[in-house]
Structure formats: C-alpha cells, structure tokens
Point group: C2
Chain length 654, copies 2
C-alpha cells in the first residue's frame, strides 16, 4: 500500500522483502468496506469485487434448551447503507497480486518488490532529520541466495508439516536464522541512503527492533486453529458467515470463501498454554483442529478432502509504543498492532495505516506538503490501533467464552450480550467510523496533537461550520452518493472522483447556481480562488498544471437541464485548455439520473440546497475542513497549515 | 466472436486474417445493450463498461423560426429499464483486445489470430457435407510476408492521406492487390481440411465471392464524413449524443467518446455522386469534412488540434442473398449486410451474427447437437439483417433530409416524424427486440423454417404455455432480474448465471416450494429429470458430468429464510459431489436482498408465484421453450429436436 502511493505520486521507491515469493494461499482473507473504497480509489476495487466471495448474512448458532446448537439469529453481514461496498472475502495472495499489478502500472514498471533482500542495519542521522533535501536514513541490505530466501510456505492441497508458518505460535525466529545463513554465504551487500523508510515487516518487525521500540500487551489462554477447506457437510449455513457457540466444546466461526472454500476458525479447548503462557506447538495438527470443529458442529456432519491451508494462533493483543522515529522511519501494520484474526481486521487496518501514511510521506518528499504533517501519522493511527486492540480484547473473550446456560449462569457468556457486541463490532470493523482528531490536516475543535495548533478551532466556531455539512464530519472519510456530470448526464458515485493520486480537493457545493444571489457568492469565491497569491496557485509548483496539487470539484443543486456548464459556472470550475478545450469532468449536479436513481447528495451530505458550502478533502478522502462559501480565509488557512505555499505573481498557464 | 465461442466450447480452431495488425483507432465504436450482455456472458463485460464512455442522453437540435439551430428535445439514449446495461462507446481496437485476451484465456493459449494469411481457394465436397465425421471443406492458405500484409492504417494523430481505408468509398480492390503481390513472392502455402468455415471478412468478403453469393441493394446519393477529434468548442451539448439538422447545410451527429474524443458524423452536401453513382474520392479530405461540420454547427464555434481518425462513406443498404453453403461454410457481419454506420449497428449486429452461429457450429462439431440446427442461422439472422437494412434505409433518409420549414414544406423532413423514428430506432438498435421465429431451437407457433417442424406447436397450445411466463417470450433473449442465492443470500442478476459456455439450461421456476402440493409437482418433475432414459442423461456424453450439456437452475418464490436448500429441494437441483459436497450455486430465490433491492423476478418474468413453470434456454440466452411443471414430455421433445440423445441405462456419476 505504501509503495502503491509512491507509484501513484511518482516518488522514487524501493521495496525489499526477505522472502523470495509472494503469498499463494491462506493468510488474511476479509476485505472490509473501507478497504474496498480505498482499492477503488487506486483503480482495482473492481478486480477484488469480481473475484471475491461476497459475505451477505451472519447466522448466530447457540445451544438450545436441549444443549444442541440451533440458529438463533440472522443479521446482515454489512450494515445496510454504510458504504457502496460490502464485506468480501478473498485470499491474501490475490490482494498482493492486485497491488503488484497496480504498482507496476502506475510506476511505469520502475517499482518492483526486490525479494530475498534482508536489512542488516538502519541508522538515522539525527542532525539532518529536519533538512528537507537530506537523505538522513542509511540502510544496509544483504541480497540472499534463492535457497536462503525460500519461505516455508505450505504447498496448496498438501498436508505439509508446517502449517504454522507465520502463526504467532511459531516461536523459532526464522528471521535470525535467515541472517545467520546469509552471513555464512557470499551474499552481496549494498548501502541505501533514503529520505524515508517504512517498516511493514510484521509482528516480529526487524525495523521495530532496530529502532528499539516495543509492542505492549498480553496473550490470553485462548488458542484457536484455522482451516481453509472445501467442506462436505449437512450444516445448512456453511455458505453463511456463522458465529457458533457450542455448549461444551468451544466456539467456531465460519467464513465462506471463493472457489468453494470455507475458512473455519476453531477454538481449541483441549490445547492450553503451559506455565510460561505458551501452547505446546507439537500438539497442534490439522487433525486436532478438525476434530475440534466436528465436535462443535455436532450433530451436523463435517468432512473434507481438500485442505488449502491451516494454522493456529494464541489470542493476544499488543500495540506499539511508538509509530515513528524522527518522522523519518515509520512502522505500520502488524509491526505496531497484533490481535486475533477473526474480525478480519489485521490486513484491513494494516493497509489503512499506510494508506494514511503514504501520501503524507510522498508529498513531504516532493516538497509539496510541510514535514510537520508527518507527525499526524502516529496521532491518527495509534488511536485506531488502540481502539482495535480494545475491541478485539472484549470481542475475543465473548467469543471464546462458554455460552451461559441461563440468566443465573454468571460465568457463561450471555448470548444477547454477544450479539450486541457483534453488531457494534461489525460497525467498527467496517473501517468507516474512524474519526481523526484535530491536527494540521483536520481543522476541528478539540485537543490538537501538536502538529499545528493553528488549524484547531474553537468549539463554537466549529459547531457552526460543521453544521454546514452535517453528513461530512471533519476527520471522517468523505461518504459517497451519486451525482450527475453536468456536461454528459452520466451518474457517478462521487467518491469515484476522489482518486488516490496525491491531490487534495476543494469540493464546492455551489448550491442553487440559478439564483442571482447565490451565483454572486460563487463568483466571489471563484475570484478569490483565481488570485495568484492564494493557496491554489501558491501550492502549485511553477510550470505545473493548476490542478496538480489541489483539484477543484463542484456539485450544484439546480436542475441539470436548466443549467449550462459554459454559461452558468465561472471558468476556474471547468478550466479551458487551448489544446483540448473546456474541462467537462469537474462540475456535477445533485439531480435524478435516467438509469441509476437519485443520489440526493445535498440531503445526504447535510448541505443546504440554496447556499451550499465548501469542503477541503485530503488525498486519502478524509474531510479536512468545512466552511461557508464566504470563508475563503478559513480555507486559505487550512492549506497554509499543511502545504508549502509560494505565492505566484502571475497566473500559470494550465 | 466466432472464435471466442470455439475457445469457450473447446473446439479446435484457426483464425486467419490477411492483415498483419489489429485495429488501433477509429472504426466502429458503439456498444449496444445486447452486446454488453453478451460480453458479460463471455466474461469481459466489465472491461468494456469500465473503459468506455457512457452515452446517457440524446439532444435533438433543429433550426428555430429564425433558422438558427437550437435544442428542441432531450431523450434518454437507452430506453429506461430495457437492460441492466446502457449504450456505451469505445473504439474497435479495444473491443478486439477484449476478444483476443478472452480467446487466449479460454483456449488456454491454443487459438491465436494468424495474421498475414490469405485464403486462395475454398472447396466443399458436396458428397460429404452430411457426414458427421468428415472434413468436407478444403481451404488453401498463403502466408504473406510482413510487408505484403501491412494494412494502410492511419497512424494516430497524424494527418495521413488515406483516412478512407476500409471506407466504402475505396473502390480499389486492395485484396486483389495483395493476392497479386503474394503470387509474385515466395510465400509459403498450406492446405487446411476443415469441418466448418466461417467467413467474417467484411463487405468485400473473399469467402462470399468464393461461394458465388452476392449482396443485394443500392447506394443513395448521401455522402457522409466521419471525424474522431478532441473538439474545442462552445457548443453546449458536445458531450451528449446529438442529432443536429441545420437549415441549409446538412445534418450532423455527435457521439461523445472516451479520452475526450468526440466522433462527428457529418453530411457532405457539397460532395455528390457522379453519373455512375459514385462520389469523387479525391474531393474528400479532413478539411472538407471539418468545414462542413463548422457550417452545420454555426453559430457555435468548432475547432480541433488533435484528430484520431477520419473517413467518409456513401450511404447504401445491401443484404446477402445467402448466409451459408451446405451448412458447412457460413458468412457473417459485413459479408452479408452493409448499411450506414450512424446507428452504431455494424459491429453490434455483426458480433450478434456469430454469437448466434458459434455455439451451433461448436455443438454440431462436437456431436452434441444435431446438424439440422445449423440451418437456423440463416433463418434467424437473415431476417435481422433485413430489418436492419429497412431501418437504416428509413432512418438515414430522414437524417440526411433537409428539415421542413413549416407544415406546408412537403419536401422537408418533419422533425416530429424524425424524433418518432429516432425513438423507435433506439429500441431496435438496442438489439433487445430480436425475436426469432419457430424452428428446431424455438418451440413456438408460426411458420417454421424447415429445420424441424416437430417443435412447432399450434397457436392455441402455444398461447397457453407462453402465458405461463409472459415476461419470457419464446424466441427472445432471457431478460435479467435480480434473484438471491438460497445458500449464501448473495444477489445476482440472473443473466450472470447464464454464462456462454455452450450449455443449454433448464430453468425451473419452482414456485412456492413450501406448499405441499407444489413440492409434489416439483418432486415429480425432478424424478423425471433424473431418469436415465430422459434427455438430461441422454444428452450427456458417457463419463461426462451431468451438467456438461444441460445445466439445471432453480428459482423458487418462498421466503428465503423459511426455506432450506438441503431439506426442501430434490438432490438433482443441487447435486452432491463426493469430493466437494453439495452444489450451492444452482438454487435461487425471488426475495429481497439486504443491499441491492428486490428483483421481483416472478412478477417481471410473468410467472405464477405459487405454481411456477419450466423454461428451456439456449446457449445464447434465447428462450427456446416454455411449459408447465407437468409438461416433461414437451421439454423432452424440445431437446429431442435439437440435441443428439443416446439414452443411458445407468446413472452416470457426477
């Protein structure tokens, strides 16, 4: 994900991976709504959507009065109306493939994953970290031979002995082993001088250890196994996502997958940690896991011929003490948060870490954004990680507990409480309720993170401006509704126009452009926007097109057929190019479509249809600022807080 | 398209093309709803949908009382509710790319376009044409050198001299020229013995001439030019599809395209045919065409810097006298129908020709279908071609005529009449009103085409059975509504389950499966279906899976959550496989979805929710037969009429 941003933003990048192959099966598999919105903004949401299994319904199974499991509830897997996407499931190997193809396309084949490359040392020159032109990070890399880098990956379908590869039950440090090997052989070494380094190297992160940072938290006694199989069963809900609590044998989660596969998360009640808190790894085999599943599912029969992958893990929750060093070296994903995999959060939250970080590093590296925005990575993502860990802590204990026999059974888990936690968890798991606090990129009231107190506003003022767009809370992602292109009447989900290319956006809700009063307000705003001294020109590097840093998009609320792009809208909203004519792809209207209904965008965004408002959107689709059409100064101040501005005296050609 | 069917059906195939490169720009560009449904059934509808420009609205422009053009009407480009797709525009080169990729994938890289290969002779051994094991067609091929095969294709953006390449204004026979060249050089020759040959070789078809067949029809005096440009203009509807009649300077059609391109079809009033009926080609240049466009669009300004492609054509309508020889050699596309390109029908109807033909040839070649079905190609497609030619004749005269000044102006074209013709034409152009007559594949009343009178039923009987599914007219394509998978609650457009893989389908509308009476009816039907002597087993080659020729799909109308796949439906509707368990992808329910609304399929298909019915669907998604759940004999008779049946005495393993 981080490299993907660099490819889209044109930043020189290297990716090194000690393994010599990508993932082919197993590992993470769930893609949440927000991840799909992100994939779509990068250009490959459709590939995931087409190939994946779509999870639609969750069925809850609990013991009835007779102690036999029965379906107690059905709920939609994705909360209705939350996003234009729903949760889907596809194995991590395909997700890696989508990224690799996308990086190749956008980097014009210049960024590749260099496999079999191991970092040996990392040093930061503390005296140069604030020097914008410096390369203060030095990394020594060693290139491994093919054999050295071979991962112990389980071959598809085989009953390989090491299904525990990459499980947190594997205590042997295979990385140290790799280093040992590489030292004993004639690998070539090289020294890389970098502006920035991002360590996305997993729960046992080499980068984290090199920085001297730690994961804090604890393991539980709960041990779970995972099987990816094609099930042969009479269990009626095997193609639904199921949460099953058996009376005595533990719990099980069913995740229906692509290609007839089903993933089973199975509580292993008969495997318990020893005095040191660690489970005896030798006792965990696919047979043990499968036998536990059969007991939980009884009286339904379960069998399989084909197993794609298996593993086991001990539930634990840990979060990193620090996410970056000097805003030059960053940690992301499992390197700063580990937890149980059942809620499908590991891959999603990890990708969202670097989706938050990537554009910040890219724009800082290019000199477009101030370096001070880099500190918002830790302030924004550490609280997400903490929320995740807290959620997982509560949820996994409810899931691993024995169901209560009756209201007097205080030790058991109350199934109503479990359902309530599940519903709440589902909302959390969608990734859509993330709400970043005030900082240099999020202009709202509250305690700022120190990155730039200038953009933090008083609670009174903020309440007033936020009221201009109640459906676009500052700090949350820009929700999507359908709007119509003014020039060609084509409906678009507005989010489709917020591609991940590094651009900030100013979204002008122009209101009723046919009213003379409103038109004057809009014209005045556009006049300010066009002034060479203001942020739009000042943020644009000399000689670059005016939309290279900030893109201006308009949504108006008059009738489409009564409005004319060329007559009714100031030129800066649909700029003229002497080579290709007017720009027909920037002005949209909140009106009904012929074939795809009416998005009712103004109502859904909570914006007044007559007077509109202005919204600043970050490159990662998060709302950064909301203000009135007259509040150009507020908008100017927002961009002054995060971008490097050099006012121009002349209007650049487009 | 023909080769695509062979790839999907696993038939050994060669494609030869005298040109040494595919199309890169220009040529056909419109994709109609039916073509998109077909693309989707082949697996690449999404690629076209994503890349293309979507045409949403048609604006009509005519002279006002002052003689100046003004917008008189807006209508949706695609009739609302007709299909799940709408008309889109993308250049022919991309469409060819989608096909090439799809053929490569499905043929496992065994079918390629062999370019620079010219046919020299074609002979049919008349005594062997009915011999199923024979290869009665002999074709001699010559391999050209690279220079010989180079097409005179206009390079993108350049102002090449020969924009008229492949235009019907090019009278020089460049093919004869190629043959001449190939004779003078040492090209290698080979002789191919084929079961079937399909000539998709254009308006000047070598195959057609080799068979001695002709195109009949006539040319008009109307000459039109075509420009693919990035327009620089103040014309407000340049991103809409527009039909523009100027008072004195002729007519123009605007087709907004992908990548900022716009295609203009421009009437050339100042270029007229000579006494022989042919236009003077030397007078037609991009400048002449562009100048005509400027006059028509006046007082709006039009300019361009970039031209992607240009051509000109003389409107004429011709249709082939015969579409096949001995059901062994077939002609398709421009080889049997030519007309004006403005309605975007050429590429669409041509692809639909071979979409009709391909599976018939494939199944006959594999011995699955009777050879007698091959005669339905001509009977089905010749009438479509005739309808197209008639439509184009009327439409192009209305479009090329001068608009009437007032009601007394009898020579002018009445603009209300034009609009009515346009609306009707739009319905025709969608490709969705094609209704094949009775024959061995279409069991309905009427005069049969001689291929198999056994399947033709009396008008009385037919009216009764058709009434069982009023929304699924026999002879028309199976319309698509959303249904829900019983096992996993996922919504699907039902057409997504009718993939183009050569399978016939039996769609069982099982009705209210929770009613005991109805369940008995369904069980009786399934019992008959399971009998080894009946069509399902008899059509399946020994040792093949039971769904290899005919796929059985179910849509029931009870509540999803009250129904259970394993308990409520006979096994044959969701067959058990000892290796992979039950089949979860064949039983669907007409119920509401969480996220994608309610398809209301029974109502839309006009099927009784209680009692249901049975529908046989051809491999090309056309409805072949409709009958009651009790009418197993009628269904049996339908398949006896078109498939090679060899009753089995034993049930084959799945």
């Amino acid at each position: 994900m981080a490299a993907c941003w660099m490819a889209h933003c044109g930043v020189k990048t290297r990716i090194v991976d000690k393994r010599n192959a990508k993932i082919f099966c197993g590992q993470a598999d769930g893609l949440q709504c927000r991840s799909l919105e992100i994939f779509d903004s990068l250009g490959f949401g459709d590939r995931a959507w087409k190939e994946a299994n779509h999870m639609i319904e969750i069925c809850m199974w609990n013991p009835g009065p007779d102690g036999v499991i029965r379906r107690s509830d059905r709920i939609p897997d994705t909360i209705v109306g939350l996003s234009r996407f729903q949760q889907i499931v596809i194995h991590q190997g395909r997700v890696e493939r989508f990224f690799l193809d996308n990086i190749k396309k956008y980097s014009k084949d210049t960024i590749h994953v260099e496999r079999g490359v191991l970092p040996e040392s990392l040093e930061i020159d503390k005296f140069k970290v604030e020097d914008e032109s410096a390369y203060p990070v030095t990394v020594k890399l060693r290139h491994l031979s093919e054999e050295e880098a071979a991962p112990e990956q389980q071959a598809t379908g085989s009953k390989a002995s090491d299904g525990l590869f990459r499980s947190n039950l594997v205590y042997e440090d295979d990385e140290d082993d790799l280093i040992q090997k590489s030292k004993s052989r004639a690998g070539t070494a090289e020294v890389v001088h970098a502006k920035y380094v991002i360590g996305c190297d997993g729960a046992r992160s080499w980068t984290r250890r090199a920085l001297g940072f730690e994961l804090q938290g604890e393991a539980s006694d709960f041990i779970w196994g995972v099987l990816d199989i094609i099930p042969i069963t009479d269990f009626p809900d095997i193609r639904m996502r199921c949460a099953i609590h058996s009376a005595e044998h533990g719990s099980l989660m069913v995740i229906p997958r692509e290609n007839k596969l089903v993933r089973l998360y199975i509580q292993l009640k008969e495997v318990t940690p020893d005095a040191s808190g660690r489970a005896d790894r030798s006792k965990i085999t696919p047979e043990v896991i499968f036998s536990a599943a059969q007991k939980i599912l009884s009286p339904y029969k379960l069998d399989y011929e084909y197993c794609d992958w298996w593993t086991a893990y001990q539930i634990g929750q840990r979060v990193g003490t620090s996410f970056d060093a000097h805003s030059r070296v960053f940690l992301a994903g499992d390197a700063v948060h580990t937890h149980s995999p059942k809620a499908g959060q590991g891959m999603n939250v990890s990708m969202q870490d670097t989706f938050n970080l990537g554009w910040k590093v890219a724009l800082a590296a290019k000199g477009i954004a101030k370096r001070s925005i880099l500190s918002t990575y830790q302030s924004e993502r550490q609280s997400v990680a903490q929320d995740l860990i807290d959620f997982d802590h509560r949820f996994s204990r409810l899931f691993s507990g024995r169901p209560a026999k009756d209201v007097m059974d205080a030790e058991g888990v109350n199934m109503d409480e479990f359902k309530a936690a599940f519903l709440k968890g589902n909302l959390f798991a969608s990734g859509l309720i993330v709400n970043y606090g005030p900082n240099s990129l999020v202009a709202k009231a509250g305690e700022d993170d120190g990155s730039n107190s200038a953009t933090v506003v008083s609670a009174d003022v903020f309440a007033k401006t936020q009221a201009l767009a109640t459906g676009l809370p500052v700090g949350m992602r820009f929700n999507s509704f359908k709007v119509i292109n003014q020039a060609d009447a084509r409906p678009w989900h507005f989010q489709e126009k917020l591609k991940s290319n590094g651009q900030f956006r100013v979204v002008l809700f122009a209101g009723n452009i046919l009213s003379a009063t409103q038109k004057k307000r809009v014209e005045k705003f556009c006049e300010a926007l066009g002034a060479p001294a203001n942020f739009l020109h000042a943020a644009t590097p000399a000689g670059s097109p005016l939309d290279s840093v900030i893109d201006v998009l308009t949504i108006h609320s008059a009738k489409r057929t009564e409005t004319d792009l060329l007559k009714d809208f100031p030129e800066i909203l649909h700029p003229f190019d002497p080579h290709t004519g007017w720009d027909y792809d920037r002005v949209f209207v909140d009106d009904a479509s012929y074939h795809e209904g009416f998005g009712d965008a103004y109502k859904n965004y909570g914006v007044d249809k007559e007077r509109g408002c202005v919204v600043a959107v970050r490159p990662d689709q998060y709302v950064g600022w909301v203000g009135d059409v007259e509040d150009f100064d507020g908008l100017q101040k927002y961009f002054e807080g995060c971008l490097v501005l050099s006012p121009k005296t002349e209007l650049p050609l487009r």
